[in-house]
Every structure is written in C-alpha cells, then in structure tokens.
Amino acid sequence: MTLEPARLLEMYRQMATIRAFTRRASEESRAGNIPTPIPANVGEEGSAVGVCSALRPDDRITSTHRCLGHAIAKGVDLGCIMAELFGRSNGCCQGKGGAMHIADFSVGMLGANGIVGGGLPIATGAALAAQLEGSDRVAVAFFGDGASNEGTFHSSMNLAAIWKLPIVFVCENNGWAIAVPASYALSVEDVSVRAVSYGIPGVTVDGTDVLAVYEAAQQAVARARAGNGPSLIECKNYRWDSNSQVDHAAARGRLHDPLESLRSHILNAGTADSDALERVHREVDAAVADAAAYAAAGPIPNPQDALDSVFAA
C-alpha cells in the first residue's frame, strides 16, 4: 500500500523508539535500576505500530505483560513509562503498577495486564462504553497466542459479536506462550480461524510487516467504527528475546526484523535516505536518554504512599 512519507517515517520512528526504549530498559534492569526483568518487545514492534497507526488518539487499547510497544505506539510519555519501570513516584502509575501494568488513560492506554487474557473483557467493556455513549471510538485488545487458549478470548469475542461492539482483537502470535510452543498448545495453526466460531472476520498477517499490519488494522478499525462489529487480526511475530530474561526460549527469527524491513522499504521507495533515517535514530536515542534521566531523577516513593489510592476518594 502507498502511504504518505510523513506517516511512513513516523512509523519508523515509533518502531525505532520501541526498540531503543526496550533495550535501554533491559540495560537498566540488568544494572539494578529497574527491580524486575523487562518483557521485551524487540522484534515485535511491527504489530504494535501497525495497529496503533490505524487508531485515533481517543481510541482505547488494552495490552499484555509485553506492553512497552503498545504503550509507546499509543502515545504514552516515554519518561513516565521509564519512571514507572524504575518504581518512582513520577511514573505513570506512581510506582504501583510497574512493568506489567503500564497505563495512561489520558491517551487511551487502559492498561497492560499481568494475567494472560485478562485485558480482553476490559477492552470489550471499553467498546461497550463507546457504543453506549454513541461515539465512534474503537477499542483494541492486544493479546498473545497463549491468551487465545483462555476462556476470555472466546467469551469476549462472542459477546462483542452478538452486540456488534466496535473492537478489534489483535493476537500477536509469537509462537511461544512463555516456554510452551504454539505448535504444541494451539489446536489450529492460525489463531485467526477461531474467528469463524464467532461469525466475525479473521485474518492472519505477517506481524513483522508493519504495512501489512496497518492495512489489516485499517480495515478492521473502519468496520468497527462504522458499527459493523468486531474483527480478529492475528499477527505472526517472532520473539527475539526470552519471555522476561528468566525463561529459556531460544532467540530466533532475526531474519524477520520489522524495523529492517521498513527501512528497506523506505530506502527502496525513495521516501527518505539513510541520512534521514540515521537522524531519526539519533533523535530516538536522545528521547530515550531523556526518559532514563527523568526516571533516574524521579522521586523515590515515601513508604507510606503504599497506603494511598486503594479507593477513589
């Protein structure tokens, strides 16, 4: 598909940002500045950016424990994410959520989730809210192949289908549920065929091809916005890193680099030259460095802060 140069470059910038940010977060984790391993998104930037590029700022998403790509692509401030990872009070969740619970309702990021499949019903509710308020906002539920074996995958798709809710279910199938291969755990080769059970469209796209993801997402989002109901998109991804630096899934798939693919596309199409792309990387690196500095300088919570925000006042 043909896209205007500015949009292509913005996609490239976002994917580069996700990669640089994730790598920096992993370094900070290894250095002890982040008290937890980072579920990495390296190699999976295409699905996050491809889908979120088809959304409006007032659309809403839910995410998974592997949330950094979704959060960045939806527009959550880098500094607020990094500060949250550091456990600081200036984090997007005031240091109470951490790596698996990045959220910023002000940009439609309704939250990552530490429970596999936990976010699908919540995104379904966001779509229900859009329908009830008579708006044309759309909700997206990101989840993995593992979640497609959870009950919420099936019950949420059925609910969304019978009520024609404006939602897109996006399965990022990276072939691994923690350390269990999809080839073992899935009854079908393509998660997208499960859409048939709910009478909704289901497509499988190459998740490392951001433009293919974007095209599929645009169609599904347009359908949802027009009031025609939900869709399922399966993005075949390749997880480069292990789940969270603690399991033993092998690093694979570096032949399928979504960032490198988009770079080739941009250079071949003459959208920009390599100097322009290098400039993007320099700007991205600076932004990530700023985010890390913001986090490192952020206030450490007062222990008593643990007692706040249990209930809304």
Binding site: T62, C92, H101, A103, P121, G125
Partner: protein, 324 residues
C-alpha cells in the same frame, strides 16, 4: 410507612438511580425482577448477557473505566466465580495498580447464603473472601430499608462495590418499611437494630433476623440484647461495634459463613485488639457461624449447618454465664 419486599426495595433503588444518572446501566445474567427496568429504560441499558461471566464482569470493569456506572448481576455469587480473575485481579486492583488515574464505579450484586435446598454451589456465603481483597467495598443489607439506601450509595460510589443480597429474603418475601421519599445510607455506617444493655450481638445479613428473634426470646429471660448490624463489611464501622461492646461487656458475633476466616472472625478481632474494648469485656467473645463444611442439600442437614435464633440465644446465655 408502606412496607415493600427486599427485592422491590432494590429495584426501586436501581430505577431511581437510572433515572438520575444516564451512565448507570445493567449487565445481567437474566432479567427476572429487572423486567420492569428493561421496559422503562430499554434493553441497551438493561442488557441480558450470555452466560459468560468472565466477559461481562470484565466488560463492566472496562465500561466503568470509560465513564459508565455498570451494575453487574450474575445471579448467585457462585456464578461469578467463573469471573474470579476479573474480580480479584482486575476489579479490586486496577485503580490502585494504575496509581489512581482511573475510577471504576460499579456494583457487583449477587445473591448469597443458604436456605433454599440447592446444595453447596448455589448456597454459600462467600463474603469473607471478598474482605481480603483491598480495593473492593463489601455491603450486605439485612432489611428492605437498608437495601434501598445502601444500593443507592453503592451506585453513586466511585469504587467497585460488591453487594450481597441474602437469597433467603427473596424466597421468604421478606418485607419491611421503606419511605416513599428519597434517602441514602452512607457506606461504612453500622446500625443498632435493637438497643440493649447486657450483651452485644453483632450480626450480618440474614443473621440479623435470627439475632433479633433471639433478642426477643432473651428479653423474656431478663437478658437485654443489643443487636448491631455492620451493614457494610468494607469499610467497617468499627467505632459503633466497639462502642456497643464496651457498653455491654459481652459480645456474640453471628455470621452465616463457615467459621474459619469468617467475617465474624474479623469483627471479633476488631473488638479485642482495641485495648479499651478488650479491657471492658467480661467474657470471651463468641462466634456463631456455620461449621467448616460445604452447605449440604437435604433441608435437615442444611438447617443443622446454618445458625438460627436458637443458636444465637444459646451463645448469648453461655456468654452471660461465663461472665459471672
């Protein structure tokens, strides 16, 4: 004052709040007594859901986070256990985990307790485990008046509220006085259902009726019983409970739940861990609860397990004896 049923009192609260606030809507497992609301407000706002509790409980959470005030009615609370991830991991924790940036005003209302010969899944008192989930408010009214006033407050609250309705009330058709005019009851306020001097009986839900019946019997024996109904278990009105305990010096706590880890256990702890209240006690506090067994089917077995007025009266007499 007119008298209406417990169920009708709740329906009145729902109707008034739906008229007052168009963001209030229902996600229910079936219409049942909500039928008139569907007629008045339409099936968009009174939505019958497929039997997918995890999906519609979670959808309620999502809609709440996006500006609505859903009332989620799975029927018997046991049915909501298929949505336990959504309740425990999402509903209770999301506001806190996200640093308070979003509010989740919703009511999860469901029938609870025994008394209908339906065995251990349909007949169980699960409120104690909701007490150990910070982030949830827990309400269990014992009268039509309390049910209406507390439901209105629960709907207006900006937090998830779990609202337990003893199912024996709808079976028995319990009625009570409910004013025509508007009123609310704040969450976290106990009510002294009967004033007395000798023994404090703290009772929850339908155990309030058993406690009041026992108090009447005991009055004839010269024992003056004060019946305190916490009405809300989270937040709990510890001041009213402790005040009463200090006044009488004798405490019996009645809860339909199995005794281990019951709300009665928590209320007992609230009483004895306060030094002044502890020193005022003339006898050890006593819990009257179900034994640690699943509720059995056969009515004679079920009745054996569930505390009744005779059990409460016996515990009060024993407490009086121990204090002499």
């Amino acid at each position: 004052m007119r008298e209406i049923t417990y169920v009708d009192a709740i329906i009145e609260a729902l109707r008034e709040e739906m008229r007052r606030d168009e963001t209030v809507f229902h996600l229910c497992g079936g219409l049942g007594p909500l039928e008139p609301l569907a007629s008045e407000f339409g099936t968009d706002r009174v939505r019958v859901c497929p039997i997918s509790e995890d999906a519609y409980v979670g959808a309620g959470i999502g809609a709440a986070g996006c500006g609505f005030r859903p009332i989620i009615s799975p029927g018997v609370m046991a049915f909501a256990f298929t949505a336990m991830d959504q309740i425990v991991n999402q509903m209770a924790k999301t506001h806190y985990m996200l640093g308070g940036q979003a509010r989740f005003p919703l009511v999860l209302r469901a029938a609870t307790g025994a008394g209908r010969a339906a065995a251990a899944q349909h007949c169980q008192s699960s409120h104690p485990f909701f007490l150990n989930l910070p982030g949830l408010k827990v309400v269990m009214p014992s009268t039509p008046y309390d049910a209406k006033g507390l439901m209105k407050s629960a709907i207006r609250d900006d937090n998830p509220v779990v609202f337990f309705e003893p199912q024996s009330f709808s079976i028995s058709g319990l009625i009570g006085p409910v004013p025509e005019e508007e009123y609310t009851i704040p969450l976290g306020t106990a009510d002294i259902k009967r004033a007395g001097d000798d023994v404090t009986v703290v009772a929850i839900g339908r155990m309030v009726q058993a406690a009041l019946a026992a108090a009447e019997t005991l009055a004839g024996e010269g024992i003056s019983v004060e019946v305190v109904d916490p009405r809300t278990l989270t937040p709990m009105d510890t001041a009213t409970i402790r005040d009463s305990a200090r006044k009488t010096g004798r405490v019996v706590v009645v809860d339909e739940a199995s005794v281990t880890g019951s709300a009665a256990s928590e209320i007992t702890a609230v009483i004895v861990e306060d030094p002044a209240t502890f020193r005022s006690l003339q006898a050890p506090p006593r819990r009257v609860c179900a034994p640690d067994v699943p509720v059995p089917f056969s009515p004679i077995l079920e009745q054996f397990c569930i505390p009744d007025q005779a059990d409460v009266a016996a515990a009060v007499r024993q407490t009086v004896t121990e204090s002499q």
